[in-house]
Amino acid sequence: MPNAQKRPPLLKAQHLLAVSDLSVSEIPLLLDLADSYVEVNRNAEKRHMILPGATQVNLFFENSTRTQSSFEIAGKRLGADVMNMAVSTSSISKGETVLDTAMTINAMQPNFLVVRHQSSGTAELLSQKVSCAVINAGDGQHEHPTQALLDALTIRRHYGQLEGLEVAICGDVFHSRVARSNIHLLTKMGAHVRVVAPSTLLPSGIGNFGVEVHRNMKDGLAGADVVMMLRLQLERMSGTFVPSQREYYHFYGLTEEKLKYGRPGALVMHPGPMNRGVEIDSSVADGAQSVIREQVEMGVAVRMAVLDALSRNQRSQA
């Protein structure tokens, strides 16, 4: 990575494990860098070869469309060699532990290990054992830092700032790592965050996260600049959190009618994949206020920025 030497360090940490690890000064720097990559990605020539010869391994233990392909494109556009580990055909299926798999890959000297796992804390665990940079691409119900960064970038490009904005995060907060990361990032940057959900889908102590708590959409969306919907995570619902999808849609599904509770022109966001007709109506998901596709575009830029920032640390420590 010869160009890396010319770029000043951006982050203190060697890894990106959680938004809660990022300082208030680091977040805008990352977003500024991501902004510059948005422009790069909109050019006909999208490559920005700052990581030639670097190796990035995407180790996804959970299904992913957006995040994995986004990280893959991000790495390739920066010139890195990217390998996607197919966990279903890996030694994990033969009984190998996640730690052994990561340490095996680490022995192949990658520069980046992008990890998604169903258990909270997995990225933290691996970061203690491997020598490369670990990027948390989602761990259980804990955090999904790059999703929060891309959401922040999307919002900032529309409003020019995050401070003072009213953001409503609605739906299955209980199971959502996206919600947790967004709450940490947005409150850190001065936005006012409310969460809106039935009580069964709110984590214990959520009121101490610096957010307002609402249990109906009318109050929760009142005057919101941003309405961030969350997927009702049906695959995590081993218990009975809500009586039916139909009832959930009735009270919490974002319809055009409910969207009117927010500020005129409020942004509609969703991390995807969407359950249309459950937490969001198609007319809203595809409507004029929706920035859901833009979030996906910002995702590539943010992940390029993260890889760029972490590579500077590797160079500076070399």
Binding site: V98, E124, Q141, H142, R180, G205
Partner: protein, 420 residues
């Protein structure tokens, strides 16, 4: 041959201890070098001389998972921690659920262990919670109490009948109180779990099961002991039960007295316990309940786990922490940091377990077994894997410097551990 331990600090003041043939002959201020003619004399140099600890909750891997711990390796750890009697749990493979298994444990302990070992037998066959075991035969074989160990007997009708039957045989019932439906998480339910994104087990799971069991005790008049409580509300329930005159007792693990949920930090699996570590307010309430005597017994909850089951993401890691090696230091930390008197600590670590289980040891009085240890309460030591005698190394105190060191442990008059 008589042996006299002189110049020691006993719970009741300075003095000494005279032993012969594995039994205590005399103890107290009267035991001085001038009145123990013919005895071999040991100068204790002003160190604490305490009855050996009786640990009522020790899990081993023998039989079935000896790679975790055997009775022999557990006894090594016990001796180093000032524990002279280990009460082992029936959660083995096979389960201790018949008289032959009770006999196996007693014989195996006799042949391999340094300290005294007594088993608790299972309440239900195979720990399945479906049918009661042969409690009478196992009592006769040497089981000191009946418990399903880390499992609760959830079927109230079965537990009621078992309590009724156990009473006929004078068998103590020991319960792990946790309503499984509410305790499906991996740490204490609350804000800390929400921040870590981990599933929580609510303290109410413990309180509900405890309250149910106490109702059954009222119905049956059984002897009943709560293996360990972990929260303020449970302490309050026990306080009320005792005020009501119910003949029940309860324990607490040393971990729940000195650690809280924040110690989990960055997903440290050595702090993954069942019941889970609770919040600081709960910890303080437990310390207070111990001070008052609402909590009778302190246990180590020694539960050895190998690297294979701990070097995993938190949610997937096994529950449990070892504690035999560090039990005495943990107890002394309550003396150092929480102002709990030495006599109260001795009562909770030695006398109360003996009383609850009907054992002759636990007190240094004439005729009692000569089970004791010499302790330097100020000596500090760093807990490192290599300094632990347990076969498994999953100590929540790993890398911590702790105060209070066992210098010598004596069982039936024989020195089984010496720090020198």
């Amino acid at each position: 041959m008589k042996r006299a331990y002189l110049n020691a600090k006993l719970a009741g003041g300075n003095g000494g201890l005279l032993i012969e043939n594995g039994l205590v002959v005399a103890a107290g201020a009267d035991v001085t070098k001038d009145n123990v003619p013919g005895a071999q004399m040991v100068d204790c140099g002003g160190k604490l001389l305490l009855p050996g600890l009786i640990d009522m909750r020790v899990f081993t891997g023998e039989p079935g998972t000896e790679y975790r711990e055997t009775l022999a390796t557990a006894s090594d750890a016990a001796a180093a921690g000032g524990v002279t009697t280990m009460i082992v749990m029936p959660n083995t493979d096979p389960v201790i659920d018949d008289a032959a298994m009770v006999d196996f444990i007693l014989r195996r302990a006799r042949d391999t262990a340094k300290v005294r070992v007594a088993p608790m037998c299972a309440i239900t066959k195979g720990l399945k919670g479906e049918a009661m075991t042969e409690l009478g035969l196992m009592k006769a074989a040497g089981a000191v109490a009946a418990t399903d160990g880390i499992k609760s007997v959830t079927n109230a009708a079965l537990l009621r009948r078992t309590m009724t039957y156990a009473k006929d045989h004078g068998m103590l019932i020991v319960q792990h109180v946790e309503e499984p439906g509410l305790a499906s998480g991996v740490m204490n339910a609350g804000e800390a779990a929400s921040r870590l994104g981990l599933a929580g087990s609510h303290a109410m799971a413990e309180v509900m099961m405890l309250e149910r069991d106490l109702r059954l005790v009222e119905m049956t008049g059984a002897s009943y002991h709560v293996a360990q409580i972990s929260c303020a509300e449970s302490a309050e329930v026990m306080r009320r039960a005792k005020a009501k005159g119910l003949a029940v007792s309860c324990g607490v693990s040393i971990n729940h007295l000195v650690l809280n949920e924040n110690d989990i930090g960055a997903y440290r699996t050595f702090f993954k316990l069942s019941p889970p570590l609770r919040c600081e307010n709960d910890r303080r309430a437990l310390v207070e309940a111990l001070r008052e005597g609402v909590i009778d017994v302190v246990v180590s909850g020694h539960d050895p786990q190998s690297d294979d089951t701990k070097r995993l993401p938190f949610a997937e890691a096994a529950f449990g922490a070892i504690g035999l090696d560090t039990l005495m230091a943990g107890l002394l930390s309550l003396y150092h940091n929480e102002n709990i008197s030495l006599s109260r600590i001795i009562e909770a670590g030695c006398e109360a377990p003996a009383r609850v289980l009907g054992l002759p040891q636990g007190k240094l009085v004439p005729g009692a077994p000569a089970d004791f240890c010499l302790v330097d309460p100020q000596a500090s030591w760093k807990v490192q894997p290599e300094s632990l005698f347990s076969r498994s190394k999953n100590s929540p105190f790993e890398h911590r410097t702790i105060e209070g060191r066992v210098m010598e442990t004596v069982v039936a008059g024989q020195t089984v551990y010496s720090a020198a």
